[in-house]
Each structure stands twice: as structure tokens, then as C-alpha cells.
């Protein structure tokens, strides 16, 4: 066991203003940044606000920015930093700050409500669902999401443009649309919901310029861009831009007309 004193800069303040405060704090073997924040609370700053819960990378509560990068405080090991390095911890910079490291993430909950829920298929009673493992695997990947909202935080569409927040659902909820659109038994279409159209027209899929920061920051390693957003864009293309699909639809429609 070896311990040392680390230099920390932690943002303290609230919506009225604030700034980075310097701390010298003890660090022990095997600790993560959240341990250090807790040590600050217990010894130097008892009212330092931080959101956390499981401390094992499973609940996605302790999202913050460490040295400018969106990360989970509980999954960032101190050993990745040089001992002489000053470590800067700030709240998420895409959301309104509440206090210290805590931000108001209600944007995400508002967006979650705008995605129509899973539509159970008619005529199948509970217990009668049959789906192959290969059919559920794509959506299962997206359901690994712990809703830490780091992807929402890092996405420049809203991070750098507050005004886009109304039109753009963010990677997490576009991924939710993809998840449902790939669900083998989702009956949205039968219920008159076109998930592809809403993705484009209501959730702002077109704002995404696939620069992949969401994938880079995802602590669950979900390939958000490659497996959810791009396939969703391709599904939208199917509807509107694909020449063969367009031709196919024309031909198939002709007998009806």
C-alpha cells in the first residue's frame, strides 16, 4: 500500500456562479476518483454535492467531467493519472448546474417521455412470446444502457447549441428508438406509429453527424453510432431515399392502383 497527496481542482458553485477550488487530498492504492470526492466530503468539504449510488458502474449516477472528459467518477481509477498531475473535476457541462458536481438532467427524462413505448403484439398472451436469441441481441445491446447520460452530455448537438435541445432527443433516446424498431415483436406499426419517421421528424436524427463522441464516452461500451444511430439513419433512407426500395414500392403498389 502506498498513499500520496494529490492535487485536485473541483468545481464548486451553483446556477448563480462558481469556480474551480483547489484541494490537496490523500490517495491510496486502488482508489477511484469517487473515493477521493468522498474523502473531501468527509474531511474538508462536508457539503460538497455529488450524485452517486452504486459505486460499481452499474447505475450511471456519478457522471461528471474529469480533466475535461465526460466519465463516471466511480469507474475512473486514480492509477490512470500521473501522481504529479492536477486532476480537474467539474459537473457535466451540457446540462444546467444545480450545485457543485450535481446537474439538472431533467432534459433526458423529458426526452424519454417523447419516445412511444413498446407496443405489445395483439393476439399474444403473456408467456407466449417466442423470440430467438439472435433476434433480441441487437436490442439487448442497447438495453445495457445505464442512463448515465454521458453520451447526451458529450454530444455537441446539444452541448454546444442549447437551442437544439427542443428538436434533438440525443444519442440515448435515438438509440431507444432503434432498440424498439429492432424489437422482433414491437407492434408499433400496427398501432399506426412509424418509428422511422418519428426518428427523423420528431427526435431529430438528422442533427446527428455521426462524429461518434457518444460511442467514445459510453462506459458500457455500446456501439451507439455504428449499431444504433447509423442503422436508424439507414432505416430512414429505406423509407425516403433508396432508389430500389422506391422502385419496389412503385411496382408493388401498381396492381392496387
Amino acid at each position: 500500500m502506498s498513499s500520496y497527496q494529490a492535487a485536485f481542482k473541483v468545481w464548486r458553485g451553483d446556477a448563480g456562479g462558481g469556480g474551480l477550488r483547489d484541494f490537496q487530498v490523500e490517495v491510496n492504492d486502488g482508489e477511484v476518483v469517487l473515493d477521493i470526492i468522498h474523502r473531501l466530503q468527509a474531511t474538508q468539504a462536508p457539503d460538497l454535492a455529488v450524485r452517486w449510488n452504486c459505486k460499481a458502474g452499474k447505475c450511471g449516477s456519478c457522471s461528471a467531467e474529469i480533466n475535461g472528459r465526460p466519465r463516471l467518477l466511480c469507474m475512473t481509477r486514480m492509477s490512470v493519472f500521473d501522481r504529479a498531475e492536477t486532476i480537474t473535476v467539474t459537473p457535466l457541462r451540457a446540462f444546467p448546474v444545480v450545485r457543485d458536481l450535481v446537474t439538472d438532467v431533467s432534459f433526458n427524462y423529458a426526452k424519454a417521455r417523447e419516445v412511444p413505448a413498446f407496443v405489445p403484439p395483439k393476439g399474444l398472451a403473456p408467456g407466449e412470446y417466442r423470440m430467438g436469441q439472435r433476434d433480441v441481441e441487437r436490442s439487448q445491446e442497447f438495453r445495457k444502457c445505464i442512463e448515465c447520460f454521458l453520451c447526451q452530455d458529450t454530444c455537441h448537438v446539444v452541448r454546444d447549441h442549447e437551442e437544439n435541445k427542443t428538436a434533438f432527443a440525443g444519442p440515448r433516446f435515438l438509440m431507444r428508438v432503434a432498440e424498439l424498431d429492432m424489437h422482433p415483436l414491437d407492434a408499433a406499426q400496427e398501432a399506426g406509429i412509424d418509428r422511422k419517421r418519428t426518428a427523423q421528424e420528431e427526435h431529430g436524427l438528422g442533427y446527428c453527424n455521426i462524429t461518434k463522441c457518444c460511442t467514445e464516452v459510453c462506459p458500457e461500451g455500446i456501439k451507439i453510432t455504428d449499431n444504433a444511430l447509423i442503422p436508424l439513419k439507414e432505416r430512414v433512407v429505406d423509407r425516403q431515399y433508396d432508389p430500389l426500395v422506391w422502385l419496389g414500392n412503385k411496382i408493388r403498389r401498381r396492381p392496387e392502383a
Partner: protein, 278 residues
């Protein structure tokens, strides 16, 4: 309650956007990253610029693109009358004699469009050239952003068309590669260093083309139920594996196609003789 513990009132009246929006944590720097975040976009920009410079020069040069049995991939197929005749090569004079410019321009539109609308290259140049964003959690310099919702960027959705166009182009380049199994007198059953370079190139071109996200979608991604389409599921899985290396393949094939052309140029200008293997 007179405990003095009520939360303080808030209020900051500065109007700014992005990370400096009034509601967000007051932090002056546009980013706090301490790593060399600029390296990746800078390297991307440099690499793309180098290719653009080289390919522009070569495409407009209208010379030194054929050295039997090799035809530069920039000029294949050659669609105008002003093309160098290539024995059994990709000479199709669709455009006739009125076309006076370099015939490369006629065909390069397709691979250019394919790559320009490619999901990987989009990321690369949005980041590298347009700084939108320059790197993750580094504020971009633009005041407004509409992404790919409007003209012209909404045209990125045409990637599918370019993918379809890229297939015959790759097929013709494959044909060109077959032709490299001849010697300078068009006798079959020979191969030189150029043959190897062409082979590597065509493998990379195909790998890049087939690893495209549109391709992945078409072969199986668009399905909702894989169990009913086992063959397409296998194809989708296969393309998925390639797709995971799309970036690598994009660069490798970009470099290999330029090298192919450079090799032909060196042979055509007589700077270099093609070492024969058999």
C-alpha cells in the same frame, strides 16, 4: 423558516450559448481536456489533404495513366474518346469525342461521392475540417448547427446510391486486376510487382466497399427478425465484422488506390521498370 438555511436565489443574466449558456456551470475555458485531443483531427486533416492534393493533380493531369498492362484506377473505366487505347482494357467511349477534359473526372465522381458520403469519412472531415466538433467535449466554434437536417448536408442520405454505384466500379477494377496477369506484350500468365500492388488494392477496395454501413443494412440490418432469414443473418454478421474495421479499411484502401496510381505513373513516365515475378 428563519433558519438561514434556505437555498440562495439564482440569477445570471449573461446571454451565451453552448457550454457558456447561463444555466450551466460557470467555467470559462471552452474545454478542460489535458490530453493531446487535437492530434487526431490534425492527423486526419493532414492525411485527407495529402490525398486530395495528389488525386487532384493526377485526375487533371490526363496523362501517364496507362502502362501496359496496368491502368490507373483513377482512369478506369475510361469513358471518353480521348482515352489512351488499352488492349482489352476498360475503354468504353460512352461520352464520345466532345469530352475534352481528363476522362478521370467522369469516373472519379462515383468513388468520390461514395467516400464523401461514407459514414466514416463524414466523421473524419466533420471533425478534421469543419471542427464540428473538433474532439469530444471540446466546444465547436460555430454559433449555429443544423447537422444533416437541411440542404446540402441532407444529401448525405444518398450514400445508398453511391454504394450501388461503387459496386460496378469495384467490379471493373477487379477486371483491371485480372488484366495485370499479362506482360507488357499482353501475353497471359505473367505477373509483376504491379500485379501484387493491384491485388492488394482490389482486396482493400472490396473490403472497404462491402464493409460499408449501407451494405450492412441492405444485406440484413434492415430485417427485424433474423431467425426467418438465416442466410442474410450470416451475411449481416460477416459484414458486421468487416464493418467494425471500416475506418481502417477506409484509410488502407485510400492509400492503396493512390499507390496503385503512383505505380502506374512511375512506370508510364519511365522512372521505374516493373519487376517481373514470372
Amino acid at each position: 423558516m428563519a433558519t438561514g438555511t434556505e437555498p440562495p436565489s439564482t440569477g445570471r443574466g449573461v446571454s451565451a450559448t453552448g457550454v457558456h449558456s447561463p444555466s450551466r456551470a460557470a467555467i470559462a475555458p471552452r474545454h478542460l481536456r489535458t490530453d493531446r485531443w487535437w492530434l487526431a483531427p490534425a492527423a486526419t486533416a493532414a492525411g485527407l489533404l495529402a490525398f486530395i492534393a495528389y488525386s487532384t493533380w493526377r485526375a487533371f493531369a490526363n496523362s501517364d495513366y496507362y502502362a501496359a498492362p496496368y491502368v490507373s484506377p483513377f482512369y478506369s473505366p475510361c469513358l471518353a474518346e480521348n482515352c489512351v487505347p488499352m488492349k482489352a482494357g476498360p475503354n468504353w467511349e460512352i461520352f464520345g469525342s466532345w469530352w475534352g477534359l481528363s476522362p478521370a473526372l467522369l469516373i472519379l465522381v462515383f468513388p468520390l461521392g461514395f467516400r464523401l458520403t461514407c459514414y466514416y469519412y463524414r466523421k473524419a472531415y466533420y471533425r478534421g475540417f469543419w471542427a464540428s466538433p473538433p474532439a469530444c467535449a471540446v466546444a465547436e466554434p460555430h454559433t449555429a448547427y443544423t447537422g444533416e437536417t437541411r440542404f446540402p448536408l441532407i444529401l448525405q442520405n444518398l450514400h445508398r446510391y453511391f454504394f450501388y454505384a461503387a459496386l460496378p466500379v469495384a467490379a471493373i477494377l477487379t477486371y483491371d486486376t485480372v488484366l495485370t496477369f499479362r506482360d507488357a506484350t499482353y501475353a497471359w500468365g505473367h505477373a509483376g510487382l504491379g500485379t501484387v500492388i493491384f491485388l492488394v488494392n482490389i482486396v482493400l477496395i472490396w473490403a472497404y466497399t462491402l464493409s460499408c454501413h449501407s451494405c450492412r443494412h441492405i444485406v440484413g440490418g434492415r430485417l427485424r427478425n433474423f431467425s426467418r432469414h438465416p442466410v442474410r443473418y450470416r451475411l449481416w454478421t460477416l459484414v458486421g465484422k468487416l464493418n467494425a474495421r471500416h475506418m481502417l479499411l477506409a484509410w488502407a484502401s485510400l492509400i492503396s488506390v493512390a499507390l496503385c496510381d503512383l505505380y502506374v505513373y512511375l512506370l508510364a513516365t519511365g522512372t521505374f521498370d516493373d519487376p517481373r515475378i514470372f
